[in-house]
């Protein structure tokens, strides 16, 4: 079986500097894959490379049978990958419902099935659909951000540190929602600062360090690995 997304020896960065060096990863269908690593390891950069947000100087990016290396973000969105940035990931002065509508902007025709899907995943949002997104708490904002990204029915969802700055209670909730999203047939690739919790919840993980692949394996294996633990998990 071929992977949904496969990143093959990607080298690239912003401007002239190469932040990623020969990074390879893959995400299968219906899988949650987490990228962890110390600060400055290139975790977010690796994810942004999937979405066409940096200059790729080497390697290939394959998605669902297409070579998407060097595609512009809007083309990648239409192909079925949606991206939730870490910060500024909602339209603050628009209502929850309008945020979702903007998420489905590229979709032709009726959006009601997409609204239903998102509101089923996030019942809290349905109740407050007229509320301005900027007035919500951190955890709810993250739900709006994920909801916006799910409106186009992506096959792969990219989440950049979805639990940054959230309380443990919301962190659990976001992880639970990510599982629910995965169960609707959407694969998820996420970057996490909270490595322990993320590896415990993800199907598989990659450890990056200094822009290179360091370890990979199932979440449980990585958690049990002594070198990984010593490197940055705090023993």
């Amino acid at each position: 079986m071929t992977a949904l997304l496969s990143m093959d020896r990607i080298t690239g960065g912003y401007g002239d500097a190469d932040i990623l060096q020969d990074v390879s990863m893959h995400v299968d269908e219906n899988e949650i894959v987490v990228i962890v690593g110390p600060n400055g390891a290139g975790k977010s950069t690796a994810m942004k490379s999937v979405f066409g947000l940096l200059t790729i100087r080497g390697g290939r990016m394959l998605f669902d049978g297409d070579d998407i290396t060097g595609w512009a973000p809007n083309r990648i969105v239409q192909r079925g990958i949606c991206y939730v940035p870490q910060v500024d990931n909602i339209f603050r002065e628009m209502s929850i419902h309008e945020n979702l509508e903007m998420g489905g902007f590229l979709k032709k025709g009726d959006l009601s099935a997409a609204y239903d899907r998102v509101y089923t995943l996030f019942p809290d949002l349905k109740e407050r659909r007229k509320t301005l997104a900027g007035a919500l708490s951190g955890g709810q904002r993250q739900m709006v951000a994920m909801g916006r990204a799910l409106m186009l029915d992506p096959k792969l969802l990219l989440l950049d540190e979805p639990t940054a700055g959230l309380s443990p209670r919301y962190m659990e909730q976001i992880f639970q929602i990510s599982r629910d999203v995965r169960d609707t047939g959407v694969a998820i690739l996420l970057v996490e600062q909270h490595a322990k919790q993320a590896l415990a919840f993800a199907d598989r993980g990659y450890v990056l360090a200094a822009g290179k692949n360091r370890h990979e394996g199932s979440g449980a294996d990585l958690l049990a690995d002594r070198e990984v633990a010593e490197m940055f998990l705090g023993g």
Binding site: R92, E93, M102, L106
Partner: protein, 290 residues
């Protein structure tokens, strides 16, 4: 001076002037919110709109009101053209470059107006219009028309921004441009749409200024400062704020004559602008910080 006199000679003209400023200020606030620069050719676009309407009025012998939609469409087209030919190439440069370019555009538009229509004062219709008397309030028809047209145009715009898909896309672009692009919203279309609306509003403010006073090649340029004061007073990016700001500046200008010589009327806008930037730079309705 009694109360009615105050209303008739200062407040009503202030509301009319304020409505004219409001039409311009809404455009300024839209450009600020979506394109993120101060557009200095705004006043001269209004002048152009007023003179296009004059050409229609004299050429076809119709009333300025019939000429208004034609002026709106023509000025909107000119605004889109200016963006395509000049501003679009400066999009990736620091915003101050576009601000200075818009100053150049202002001078160009004014020069064209002066070449085509001359530098003399013109009017849409000759003769003096006497105000009607409504329970002691003395109001001219054109004054009622100005206020109603402002409310209708801004109200229509507000509906467009809150109800239609592309109007919401404009708000999204103003709110969070990066996320708007990630959502697949077409930046170029939003920019073009913005110029259509801004150009149209400019023309309307120019036509109503001409209708209530007279047409001069400097008319729009002289409105620029009060329009900016109104936009900043209301809060940058706030449509309803720009209307409120326009009315406050207009009324303040007219009332200022009671305490300072009328030659200094224009200084009121400047004073309001300075005061707001010092005290509350986000404006009355909490807009973006510049």
């Amino acid at each position: 001076m009694d109360f009615l006199e105050l209303i008739n000679f200062y407040v009503i003209p202030g509301i009319v002037l304020g409505s004219i400023y409001a039409l311009g200020a809404v455009g300024i606030t839209l450009v600020f919110a979506i394109l993120r620069y101060a557009h200095l050719a705004h006043g001269d676009l209004a002048t152009l709109g007023a003179f296009i309407a004059l050409a229609v009025v004299t050429g076809l012998g119709v009333s300025p009101l019939v000429a208004l939609p034609i002026a709106i469409i023509a000025t909107a087209a000119v605004a889109v053209g200016i963006d395509k030919v000049f501003y679009e190439h400066l999009r990736e440069r620091p915003k101050i470059v576009t601000v200075m370019a818009s100053l150049g555009i202002a001078l160009m538009i004014r020069a064209v107006v002066q070449v085509v229509w001359g530098v003399d004062t013109e009017t849409y219709s000759r003769g003096i219009v006497r105000p009607e008397n409504y329970f002691g309030l003395r109001i001219r028809d054109r004054e009622i028309l100005t206020v109603i047209a402002m409310i209708a145009l801004v109200g229509g715009l507000q509906l467009f921004l809150t109800r239609s898909k592309w109007g919401k896309a404009m708000r999204a672009m103003s709110d969070n441009p990066n996320l708007a692009l990630l959502s697949g919203i077409d930046n170029k279309k939003v920019v073009m749409l913005t110029w259509v609306i801004v150009g149209g509003l400019c023309a309307a403010s120019g036509v109503f200024l001409g209708l209530n006073t007279e047409l001069k090649s400097m008319m729009g340029w002289q409105m620029l400062l009060p329009m900016f004061a109104a936009a900043i007073l209301g809060g940058v990016g706030r449509i309803e704020g720009a209307v409120l700001g326009g009315l406050v500046v207009g009324i303040a200008e007219e009332l200022s004559v009671l305490v300072i010589p009328s030659e200094y009327k224009a200084a009121m806008a400047f004073a309001i602008l300075l005061f707001m930037l010092l005290v509350r730079p986000t404006g009355l309705l909490k807009g973006k910080v510049l």
